[in-house]
């Protein structure tokens, strides 16, 4: 049995894995926020509730329709994404001519309403959602035990994040998106339907949150508060990475998850605040964020 810096390897790698799992959620959620903020200039405070809705839709699908995890992974993001499209069309779009603050207040209020309704109906004890049978069990890697489902979460998150990055940075659609982020008026004057692009972008960002919610359902219990707790940390991640930077959101998400995990090994008392400490330091030194472009 070897030790690293006096820490047993099981504990070290166990926490690293946990950090990587948390980092996966940070990355997908902050990516969605970054995409939305880039084009809509709105800080989407409903994001945590939409993540939670993803988990709930997965639970509903199983409970009432007998539809399992794999289909939920596709259906829940689409369903929650559609609610996002409706929300953007009916409410958020009315606020674009106002200060950012109003969008923040609206989306925060909507989050409270959604969470409140579900809390009324389901309480806060959490609903169980089991790991799909294909991913039950785990691998003994020698230095640690890797549960299959957790490995899957990390891989699935990475794939989704990189696919999103690819679409935004390397495709024609992504070029429209980047251009509309810079100068929506001119992009409209080229004949592109910018309002529709904005609506679909919001729907996509919301769908990403719901996808993360489905991934999370078997790990954390399905709970109306699951998003509210997570989203505070995710906002700190977004501030550290820099609002609006796609690659920055992904790297910072995974990176901070790992840092958090390592802190839990070496200085457990600091693990719940380390991200906020980093946020404070980044804000002081580089207010635009590590990957942000100064405005």
């Amino acid at each position: 049995m070897f030790e690293l810096l006096g820490i047993p390897p099981q504990a070290l790698f166990g926490q690293l894995l946990l950090g990587l799992i948390n980092g996966s959620f940070y990355a997908i959620l902050s990516l969605g926020l970054a995409v939305i903020f880039g084009l809509l200039n709105i800080i989407n405070f409903t994001h945590g509730a939409q993540y939670m809705l993803g988990a709930f839709v997965a639970w509903f699908l199983l409970q009432y329709l007998g539809i399992g995890y794999w289909w939920a992974l596709i259906i829940a993001p689409i369903a929650v994404g559609i609610t996002g499209v409706i929300l953007e069309r009916l409410m958020i779009s009315k606020l674009y001519h106002l200060d950012h603050l109003y969008g923040l207040l609206l989306t925060f209020g909507i989050a409270l309403v959604i969470q409140g309704l579900l809390r009324n109906e389901f309480g806060i004890s959490g609903l169980p959602y089991s790991i799909p049978p294909q991913l039950a069990g785990g691998q003994n890697l020698g230095f640690m035990f890797l549960p299959n489902y957790r490995g899957w979460v990390v891989v699935a998150s990475l794939v989704v994040c990189l696919a999103t990055w690819f679409v935004i940075e390397k495709t024609r659609l992504g070029a429209y998106l980047r251009a509309a982020t810079e100068n929506p008026t001119l992009v409209g004057a080229f004949g592109i339907n910018v309002p529709r692009l904005v609506t679909l972008t919001y729907g996509f960002g919301v769908a990403l949150a719901a996808f993360a919610g489905v991934l999370a359902a078997p790990i954390y219990s399905v709970n109306p508060n699951m998003g509210a707790e997570l989203i505070i940390v995710v906002f700190a991640v977004v501030v550290i990475g820099g609002m609006g930077s796609i690659l920055g959101a992904i790297i910072t998400g995974f990176g901070l998850g790992i840092i958090e995990g390592l802190t839990r090994v070496f200085y457990p008392e600091g693990s719940s605040v380390v991200i906020f400490v980093i946020m404070a330091i980044v804000l002081l030194i580089k207010p635009a964020g590590l990957f942000g472009r100064a405005a």
Binding site: A175, A179, E182, T185, L186, A189, G191, N193, V194
Partner: protein, 247 residues
């Protein structure tokens, strides 16, 4: 001068105009900047809007393009009324816009900038033809759009519109801040586009440049068109123009 305008208008109206702007008024927020702009442009013509800074030339182009939110009056293009249409619908009818600030996107490569405006009509230039027109761009295809020189950005801004198949181009001060050799290149490009049948509305401060490419000149003063001068009468009208432009 109102008489001069009245006398010349029938000639211009003989062939039915591709673009006709009538009693166009426009606002920036509360401030009333266009007070009844009237002019028309026939197919294949190059027409300039001349006038002092702040006369309303750029605003007129923005109003035609539908970028100016608050506008009133009538703008007909190819027989269709534009005044109620959003910018994207106007672009789809085949109106191309090259803004004064050039509008090159920093987060897009030169290639992506070039390919950004969708094709709205058949018969646009191919990418190869655009590179023949502006050879400098070919070597910079993968560069970030805003890393180009001012002249190259102007070429990119014009080039990407030529790809779309738009037959009328609104060109806002293409020579502003550019070296004489680049101005000359852009002038040659405009002459070539005119030969190929493009219709161009040009806002220009550089009077000599305007004279070298245009068929007719409209003088804009305080949000109104106050005069129209044929290019061949330009020499005879120098004094009058100097008074208008304050040169």
């Amino acid at each position: 001068m109102a008489d001069a305008l009245a006398q010349q208008r029938p000639a211009a109206a003989a062939a039915s105009p591709l673009l006709k702007v009538a009693d166009l008024e426009g606002w920036y927020g509360e401030s009333h900047v266009l007070h009844g702009i009237n002019f028309d442009v026939r197919e294949g013509e190059v027409v300039t809007l001349l006038g002092r800074n702040g006369a309303g030339k750029t605003t007129t182009l923005k109003a035609i393009m539908g970028i100016l939110a608050k506008r009133r009056g009538s703008i007909t293009f190819d027989g269709k009324e534009l005044i109620k249409l959003p910018a994207r619908a106007i672009a789809r009818l085949g109106v191309g816009y090259v803004p004064e600030e050039r509008g090159i996107f920093a987060s897009l490569s030169v290639d992506e900038n070039l390919m950004l405006p969708p094709q709205v009509k058949p018969g646009g230039l191919s990418v190869d033809e655009i590179f023949q027109l502006f050879p400098n761009l070919r070597e910079r295809r993968t560069s970030q759009g805003t890393k180009l020189s001012g002249g190259e950005q102007q070429m990119l801004s014009i080039g990407r519109i030529l790809r779309t198949g738009a037959k009328m181009i609104l060109l806002d001060e293409p020579t502003e801040g550019l070296a004489p050799v680049i101005v000359q290149q852009i002038g040659e490009t405009l002459a070539k586009l005119k030969r190929e049948g493009f219709t161009i509305v040009l806002v220009e401060q550089n009077f000599r440049f305007a004279a070298s490419v245009a068929d007719r000149h409209y003088v804009v003063e305080q949000g109104k068109v106050v005069d129209m001068i044929l290019n061949e009468d330009l020499d005879a009208s120098t004094e009058k123009l100097h008074a208008y432009l304050g040169v």
